[in-house]
């Protein structure tokens, strides 16, 4: 259940390294209980933003509040579980000892270690040294460390990196479970399918700025209908006369109509009524990945204008 009270609030948050603005005036609100997707290409400013949320990096300017206090506040950190830019553990310690070390740092009982290892499916390899783990196992241990404190807010930066397909599915289910338990989850990922399945709202960051924020449905936008209809000129005129049709264009002999899904029947009815023969109707939905590339692929756009 998503509450209305904000868990994370960023206002004009900026981080500059010399002249380079890694994060440039970011405004963002994440509400309690949300599973929130944070998307962006490499170097867009995702990890820097997440590090600022955890107090690892100080912002150059702007305001941030996490769980109602400034980022890095020790009391707030004890209510946040995080995995940022890959797991950082000691290669000479076992998985279990690494988590015990973190438990000591967090001031939580060592008895929390076992359930955290179980939750990520690593209990049977917990006695092996971290240095011998595969990338996927290291990633799981990172998520286990994030769960040690029974956190209200979970921040996961690319948690499925290095996981095999089964591991990715397990991780997805784990994140969905975290959301169901009422925890707020901020998930940064390159895997659009994953975000589309898991997240309720997303923000896309590019070159340090938030370029789009909204629900997954809002970002994916209206459905497109692909119609094969003759005569096409009559069809186009008929469609353009309909108030609920946003856009009509012709591509490879098909009419592409941008419209809400609930209007499909009305469109075919209007065309038939106008004497147009409709021989094919196909609904196409934009994937989050398409939206992401539209928002973040600069070189392609620039080339297309040449």
């Amino acid at each position: 259940m998503t509450g209305s009270d904000p868990v994370v609030e960023l206002r004009d948050l900026t981080k500059k390294y010399g002249q380079l603005a890694a994060v440039d005036g970011v405004n963002l609100t994440v509400h309690r209980g949300e599973v929130f997707g944070f998307l962006g290409p490499n170097g867009a400013g995702k990890t820097t933003t997440l590090r600022m949320l955890l107090g690892l990096i100080r912002p150059t300017s702007g305001d941030a509040a996490v769980l109602g206090v400034r980022p890095g506040d020790p009391d707030a950190l004890r209510r946040i579980g995080s995995l940022i830019e890959g797991p950082g553990f000691y290669p000479y310690l076992t998985g279990r000892t690494n988590l015990r070390t973190m438990a000591r740092y967090a001031g939580v009982p060592a008895s929390n270690v076992g359930p955290a290892l179980e939750a990520v499916g690593l209990a049977d390899r917990a006695g092996d040294k971290f240095g011998t783990y595969s990338l996927g196992m290291k990633q799981r241990l990172g998520v286990a460390a994030a769960l040690l404190k029974d956190p209200e807010l979970v921040i996961l930066d690319e948690p499925t990196n290095g996981l095999d397909p089964q591991g990715m599915r397990d991780m997805r289910e784990l994140i969905v479970d975290l959301g169901r338990q009422g925890r707020t989850v901020i998930l940064s990922s390159h895997l659009m399918g994953e975000v589309q399945q898991i997240c309720e709202r997303v923000a896309v960051i590019d070159r340090g700025r938030i370029v789009r924020e909204g629900t997954v449905e809002q970002l994916r936008g209206d459905t497109e209908l692909e119609l094969v209809a003759t005569p096409s000129d009559v069809a186009v005129a008929t469609l353009r006369a309909l108030s609920f049709v946003d856009d009509v264009r012709t591509e490879a002999g098909c009419l592409l109509v941008k419209v809400g899904t609930r209007h499909t029947a009305e469109i075919t009815r209007a065309l038939v009524h106008a004497g147009v023969a409709v021989t094919g109707v196909r609904r196409t939905e934009r994937e989050l990945e398409d939206v992401f590339f539209d928002l973040t692929t600069h070189e392609d756009k620039e080339l297309s204008h040449v």
């Binding site: 590090r51 020790p74 009391d75 830019e85 797991p87 000691y90 290669p91 967090a106």
Partner: protein
């Protein structure tokens, strides 16, 4: 306060399991044993001194390995060679947290940064203290063994002398370890701090001392403030009456009190630097 205790406990548990810590301890013990006992004793058994023993008589060589000289044999390497090993340990403990990406994991668990860096330092100086004790015990065992084998009287230093010797030794080693930690935190790496630190201890300090002693005496006030010179003077002041020549780096360039004050000041400044720099640093790795 509980943060500091939790962090120190966690860091001690880490140090105990850290192979590098044991390798460094083994190296320090080997240094002490080889130069404090093996070479002098073998030379004594051969009935000759030679270059390695600075022309000491066989009787002097044997006397130098007996329990009465255990403080000398334990602490003589601290100002230079064992000090370099302590510096390596400090740089490893502090610098590895940056290069291994573990610092972000530690800091996001919730303790205050001052507790994290303060706890790491406390664990480091505690480990150094345990190391000093281990060095003393191995030296004492060797000295006792030689005394028994050679049918010599077993006369240990007084408790007061032992406490002063080991306490001073611990302070010197803690200072070097803390300076290693400073390099680790400031440079956020391991290799460069170790390289710079070892070059400083083994090379630059000796160069400055030599230049100040011979060609540029105006440098003597600066020389007298150097950590190696100060620790050599401190150790020199707590050693019993010397039978042979003093080991390298152990000489009373300044008074023992001044050496103690300078070494303590370095240790305190190093600890404060680690905490202050650590608190302010962006953790971006």
């Amino acid at each position: 306060m509980s943060d500091l205790v939790n962090v120190t406990r966690a860091e001690l548990a880490k140090l105990v399991r850290r192979p590098a810590a044991w390798v460094l301890l083994a190296a320090a013990i080997t240094l002490d044993q080889v130069f404090g006992f093996v070479i002098p004793y073998l030379s004594y058994k051969n009935g000759s001194g030679g270059a390695m023993t600075d022309g000491e008589s066989p009787a002097q060589l044997l006397a130098g390995t007996l329990p009465a000289q255990v403080i000398t044999n334990t602490t003589a390497a601290f100002p230079v060679f064992a000090g370099a090993l302590a510096l390596v340990l400090g740089a490893l403990v502090a610098g590895n947290e940056f290069t291994g990406g573990t610092l972000k994991t530690l800091l996001t668990q919730g303790p205050r940064r001052a507790s994290v860096f303060g706890g790491q330092l406390l664990a480091l100086v505690t480990a150094v203290g345990v190391g000093v004790l281990a060095l003393f015990l191995t030296c004492a065992a060797s000295a006792l063994g030689i005394a028994l084998v050679e049918d010599q009287a077993v006369g240990w230093p007084s408790i007061g002398d032992l406490a002063a010797g080991l306490g001073s030794g611990w302070l010197v080693m803690a200072m070097w370890a803390s300076l290693g930690a400073v390099f680790g935190v400031v440079l956020r790496s391991v290799a460069l701090p170790i390289g710079l630190g070892v070059v400083w201890i083994l090379g630059i300090e000796n160069l400055i001392s030599a230049v100040a002693r011979t060609s540029l005496t105006a440098l003597q006030p600066l020389r007298d403030l150097l950590p190696g010179v100060s620790s050599g003077s401190l150790i020199s002041s707590v050693l019993p009456v010397q039978i042979g020549p003093l080991p390298p780096g152990v000489q009373s360039t300044v008074s023992g009190e001044r050496g103690l004050a300078t070494v303590a000041a370095y240790a305190v400044v190093a600890a404060l630097t680690v905490v202050v720099v650590g608190r302010r640093r962006d953790v971006s790795a």
